[in-house]
């Protein structure tokens, strides 16, 4: 499998979009690009599985390396392990759903799709890169499209939100940059190469400096408490597809970075700060959940609940056990699909009712059975119903966290577990206030989902259910990668 293809397809799509004149064809082009990418992602999945099944025990498969800035020892180095494959699949799913959901966008469709595809380009590159420099390059590529998406097509306090998002994310990436430079100059080979770096002994004091920089830097992307405040404003102001991409893809960049760069390359640093990570993420999980309870705007609700859910990702990483890390990755995939779907549904509802206030809705089940059914499914996924992906992820994280026998980890885990109750409270509140109850007079002639919305929802639900019903394939995909990461932590927990 030629990994460059995965980067080239969105790039070519984006450029073609820019050159396109006919506004009607733009969306078809974007859809084609997204579909090709989805197909490629599946091809990647299957070839990867075949390769692994045929006994290829290398950590990163399908590696490709081209010289790029050789005087800085930078190379365009691509490669995938199971974790990256999972993330790429997630991205492909979210992208195609995002394109479908924004089918009827009327303001500057060309630019809109261009930015969407550009964002996905950044995400694909990020997940594929094995060189920290190009990883950083792709990370930053993915920021500005978000700014523009929110600023141009957003609603509400969009400019404030867009600014906040862009600045906080750039702040995060600034920290990442400094951390990367620290790594770069402290290794004798002067390399940004992830594979090489992971085999080098980086001095412990450097690790202790670089880890917080990198972790917090990536953590900002993943809504690490207390750097999460871009999340509510950003998500709620973004256009539907923007929110989907933001929560579904962009937040995962951070999680992946925390895992792949911070934890993997800097094990000593990770050990040093693991407890702090756990404390912060536990706070995020509970605090996010409680803050969600108070929200009245559906998008704000989902944004805060994302803070809570993504807390599990960092929580899993902080636990530093194979199971917990596997769980963290599953949670990334699961949350990506789920939250994208959630935002899609909210978008669909908003488009029809022109409000996102839960208190102003009610009884929508009567007029839009499809949309509300999707809302039910995604809500249930969010509260961790077995059979849907959220459960698998949370349970894996809990099981992994529980492998630590000491009181601190136990206590944190129990606190984190408590969030499932709080989650149930706010999810049910949201569902019951929107979908159930007596319907308002003014809503009684609203229409149900159109084909594109249905297709988008079905694609994402397929992903959610595929993980929820048969988690073993995802688990088998991810856990070898998690295992290799854990080998760096020589002392077993």
């Amino acid at each position: 499998m030629n990994l460059t293809l995965l980067i080239l397809v969105p790039l070519i799509t984006a450029i073609a979009l820019l050159l396109m004149r006919n506004k009607q064809q733009v969306k078809w082009l974007a859809l084609t690009g997204a579909t090709v990418q989805l197909v490629l992602a599946f091809v990647l999945l299957f070839t990867y599985r075949n390769e692994v099944a045929s006994g290829n025990a290398e950590q990163f498969l399908f590696q490709q390396q081209y010289d790029w800035f050789p005087s800085w020892y930078i190379s365009f180095h691509l490669g995938v392990d199971g974790i990256s494959v999972a993330m790429i699949l997630l991205t492909a799913f979210v992208v195609i759903a995002g394109v479908l959901v924004s089918w009827n966008i009327d303001r500057m469709p060309k630019e809109f799709y261009f930015l969407l595809i550009l964002l996905s380009f950044g995400a694909y590159g990020f997940f594929l890169s094995l060189d920290l420099f190009i990883l950083f390059f792709f990370l930053e590529i993915a920021v500005i499209p978000k700014y523009l998406l929110i600023g141009i097509w957003g609603s509400g306090k969009k400019e404030y939100a867009a600014n906040k998002l862009a600045l906080m994310l750039m702040g995060g990436s600034a920290l990442v940059l400094v951390g990367l430079l620290g790594l770069y100059f402290s290794n004798p080979e002067r390399t940004f190469d992830l594979v090489k770096l992971s085999h080098l002994d980086i001095p412990v004091y450097i690790q202790k400096i670089c880890f917080p920089l990198l972790f917090v830097g990536f953590g900002v992307f993943t809504a690490l408490f207390p750097f999460h405040t871009w999340v509510p404003d950003g998500h709620s102001s973004a256009p539907t597809a923007g929110s989907m991409f933001l929560a579904g893809i962009s937040m995962k960049l951070g999680g992946y970075g925390c895992l792949r760069v911070a934890a993997y390359v800097i094990p000593e640093g990770a050990k040093e700060y693991a407890d702090i990570i756990i404390v912060l993420s536990t706070i995020a999980i509970l605090y996010g959940a409680f803050a969600t309870m108070m929200q009245k705007d559906l998008k704000y609700m989902n944004a805060y609940s994302s803070v809570s859910h993504v807390g599990f990702v960092l929580f899993g990483i902080g636990m530093l056990t194979k199971t917990a890390i596997t769980g963290a990755v599953i949670q990334m995939v699961s949350h990506g699909l789920m939250t994208a779907l959630f935002f899609a549904v909210i978008g669909m509802i908003y488009e029809r009712t022109h409000t996102r206030e839960v208190n102003e809705m009610g009884g929508l089940l009567k007029v839009m059975p499809f949309i509300t059914t999707v809302l039910f499914i995604v809500g249930l996924c969010s509260l961790g119903l077995p059979g849907l992906s959220g459960f698998v992820a949370e349970v894996t994280v809990f099981m992994g966290a529980w492998e630590h026998p000491d009181f601190f980890h136990r206590f944190a885990t129990i606190l984190a577990c408590m969030s499932i109750v709080v989650t149930a409270v706010y999810i049910l509140r949201a569902i019951s206030r929107t979908a159930m109850g007596p319907i308002k007079e003014s809503y009684s002639n609203l229409t149900d989902a159109r084909w594109n919305e249905k297709l988008a929802a079905i694609i994402l639900i397929a992903g959610i259910i595929a993980i929820g019903v048969a988690p073993f394939w995802l688990n088998n995909l991810i856990s070898p990668g998690a295992e290799i990461i854990m080998q760096k932590f020589s002392v077993a927990p």
Partner: protein
Amino acid sequence: MLNATTIALIPLLPLAGFLVLGLFGRKYFKNSSGIIATILLLAATILAIYTAYGYFFEYGKVNGVYEKFIPLKYTWLQFSEGVSIDMGIMLDPITCMMLVVITFVSLMVHIYSLTYMKGEERFATYYSFLGLFTFSMLALVISSNVFQIYIFWELVGVSSFLLIGFYYDKPSAVAACKKAFIVTRFADLGFLIGILILSFYSGTLDFSALIQRLTTPGSAELSAALSSSFMGISALTWAMVLVFIGAAGKSAMFPLQIWLPDAMEGPTPVSALIHAATMVVAGVFLVARLFPVFALSAPDALRLVAYVGAISALLAAIIACTQTDIKRVLAFSTISQIGYMMFALGVSKYGGEGGLGYTASMFHLFTHAMFKALLFLGAGSVIHFIHSNEMKDMGGLRKYLPVTHITFLIACLAIAGIPPFAGFFSKEEILSAAYQNNMIIYWIALFTSGLTAFYMFRLYFGIFWNKAPSLKERAGGEAHAHGEGGFAMMLPLILLATGAAAAGFIPFGNFVSSDGKGSESAFHLQFSIAPVLFGLTGIFIAMWLYKKENNKPDIIAASMNGLYKSAWNKFYFDEMYLFVTKKILFNLVAKPAAWIDKNVVDGLVNATGNTTMFISKKIKGIQSGKVQQYAAYFLVAAIAVAVLFIYWWK
């Protein structure tokens, strides 16, 4: 030999029903969905009976002991070495019994609903939800893995949620389904943590391995689980208590009983299936499933089970005496009866004579499923006829609903423990188990059985006797044209009544016992006198008070003002919970969290930006536009840098 496919088909058939009806029901099977679901379930029932028969009479017994039989185990999610969630099938006596009960009651409800739910807009959805529930419940009982049980535990919870909220445009139904889900979810938190502890110490999630490891005296796992303790209580006891919390939540035990009465907002057949016969006894099933661990390694936890069960039985019975909504009376009666099952388990020992409680509990579960489903379906007929749940709207209905009347009476007699109906046998066993082990619980149970008879017959007389029916003003003439609802509604009543009348004669002890060896249930005539007397007393008091319309009940109620009022208000549990959730969690945790987020955390971010802008404004004076000032700054800066580097910063 029993093969895995056959057994797997039992839950999978309802699942197929759920998928087909859920996806395409609205469009393609609008009217035929009921029939499709019923046929699928009929097939499942036949398979279940076949399986149970095969297990009990042909293959199950190995050397005189009913062994656990695991025809299927598939690794679903591997966590670490040895610890994985498996999807599997495990047959043992209680599983087989549950399979039969669930499929049978579910079939009855399916048939009953054909008429009862006719004309509903979401008829197909209703059946698909029923399918989902039946699937989850069946899969729950055949679970071979403690996490598998948790998974389906949650799924039955959600199907219950969906079905309670079936009338989604009724605010009370919406509130009830939320409440049911959240309360059980809270309990499930305990279950989950319990599982985590169990898995950590036993190193497995598999039931048979887990039970084996944690009950073998001296095994490494057991001693580790016993030796590590928290707050003076061993980890294993904690785990079992937490698991029991989960069970108590699902089974609406004290103090988590608050959701069940409200759950009666769902369609009545659903109440019969989920909130009387099957789902609510899942808690009992769970305790029974882990009974060896409870009994052998965590006796303290088991004692808790006993007391919680007894308290629930008593409290619910008292409350039931005051309620006027017939479904709520039945709901409290359910809680009370499940309390019986719980404390029966709680007083039981593992194996031999002492294991009577276990057998009794399962027996009562079995008989209770019959008569309680019957009661609910009967109540459903009444409600279907009279379009009201309130006792005050009823009375004298025996002439209009003869079949319902008779079957309802049978069920009442059964639940009151009057021989020879089914309830008598099971209750008698429970009482004798309690008598052997714990006198306090025995007296509570005895008193409760009298109360049970009283409130059941209060209900019976209130519905079918008492004042003359006032139908005209109720709903107009045409509403009663459908009478009792025809064959589809009557058939389940009759079948269940048969079960309620006759199920007691099954030699249950032979099949179900704590250690699988089987035991002869000894029948002591003298022992039965007390419970039957209590039951009869209750019946007569009810007859005296309620057979004819009079004001005696009001007088008595008035004379017991405080007790009556607090019982009528369900001992203010709802209010307490509301206080804790609304006032404490909502106002003291959630609100501050949201406030802090908006003002402190976000405030800091904004403050950073604002400070920058502020400084930027403040320093604009440097750029004064005066070229001479520029030169002055230039010179001062040059000298300052020079001084700095000459004297301080070398």
